[in-house]
Symmetry: C2
Subunit: 231 residues, 2 copies
């Protein structure tokens, strides 16, 4: 069965790619160059897609003209994590706030392009590595949102109207980061080729929210993250 | 109230822009360069937005890499309308078939970007000129599809989760083309600045599905379409 995989090159989406492969899917990866700060992840996505031997489409557009996020608008500062309390002592209330790294409608845009790609190649599934637990702050990473997009997949396409709707598969949605890493380890994900850092430098910074979440999960499991960090 | 208007430069979306203006909205137009054949419509959109004095964002991406439509894939022929029966004698069954000019997930992609733009500028509405009657063949022009996208607008954004969801307004959805032209006439839409033709030539061809639908509606109303046609 053909499947489109939303591949950012990060830990989660790479695990999803390996999961889809392990389920026997013929995978078609799709990545987005939206002029994000952390463009290094696109190289990871390309490297990973190539190493696994799957088709890879890169869609480019410029979200900077719309602004609104610290990930695309350089006038908005990234969170000053050095001044923030450690992630493990941040309260649930703080964790559930929508962070400045939220990009308005990002997953909706990504899923829309994935839907177009899937319908064009007659794929049956679209895999996305959203996670409702560790990214509870993002509205477009939650199960009810995915369900709403599934209705759009059903009603907004020829394939959904005339036959079986393309299914959104979100295998990580209820997993903790540690569980994702355990799953990825079973699947043989090459963590050193994945990229999570938001800072946009040559080496992962190790201190942004995304690096911290990743490092903390590896530490909890007593596994060394094989990625090289700046500090 | 701020409103984002999906403006293709065609008859329908231009009428919608004038409708939103007449309702007192502060309008922000958004158009898409998706390497469509009929790029002339983008000039119309720019001219129209400028003449009305509204902000105008152009988002560019390349849907040709995904293929799948006669509007973006030059290997798929546009319908040979000269060989087809006149539109007025085409059966309902023929009209309800999904045409080759259908672009997979196009309105979903457009609405996703409009949603991102609307959330970024704190707009309350997104206007779209979809029409379920004359474009019954397109799955993403029907009321149930718009309702599904409305749920995505509610659940997929910070604004929708924390306050009032951005509303999708589709004022033309149940109008016939003749009714749209009557509405546009009342609103003072400059038809000669709008562009409907799919063929991508300097002058509107007058024979593609889109031109025929337009010309037929003007003819039914006994009004001359002020746009210049090739023949």
């Amino acid at each position: 069965m053909k499947a489109v995989i939303l591949l950012s090159g990060g830990l989660d989406s790479t695990t999803v790619l390996y999961q889809a492969k392990s389920e026997g899917c013929e995978c078609y990866a799709i990545s987005f160059d939206y002029q994000q700060r952390h463009r290094r992840e696109l190289e990871s996505a390309t490297t990973l897609a190539h190493s696994v031997g799957v088709e890879h489409q890169l869609i480019s557009f410029d979200l900077r003209v719309l602004g609104g996020s610290a990930l695309t608008d350089i006038s908005i500062d990234l969170p000053d994590v050095s001044a923030a309390p450690p992630a493990e002592v941040r309260s649930l209330a703080q964790m559930s706030q929508i962070p400045v790294t939220y990009v308005p409608a990002r997953n909706t845009i990504f899923l829309s392009f994935a839907l177009a790609y899937a319908e064009t190649i007659s794929a049956e599934r679209v895999y996305i590595g959203v996670n409702a637990l560790d990214y509870s702050g993002y509205p477009d990473c939650r199960p009810d949102y995915i369900q709403a997009m599934q209705e759009v997949f059903r009603l907004g396409t020829k394939q959904g109207r005339e036959g079986q709707a393309i299914a959104i598969v979100a295998p990580l949605i209820n997993l903790k980061k540690t569980e994702i890493i355990q799953l990825g380890n079973k699947l043989g994900v090459p963590w050193e080729k994945t990229w999570s850092c938001y800072a946009g430098l040559d080496l992962a910074c190790g201190v942004c929210d995304s690096c911290r979440l990743r490092l903390q999960a590896f530490a909890e499991l007593g596994i060394k993250d094989p990625l090289t960090y700046a500090e």
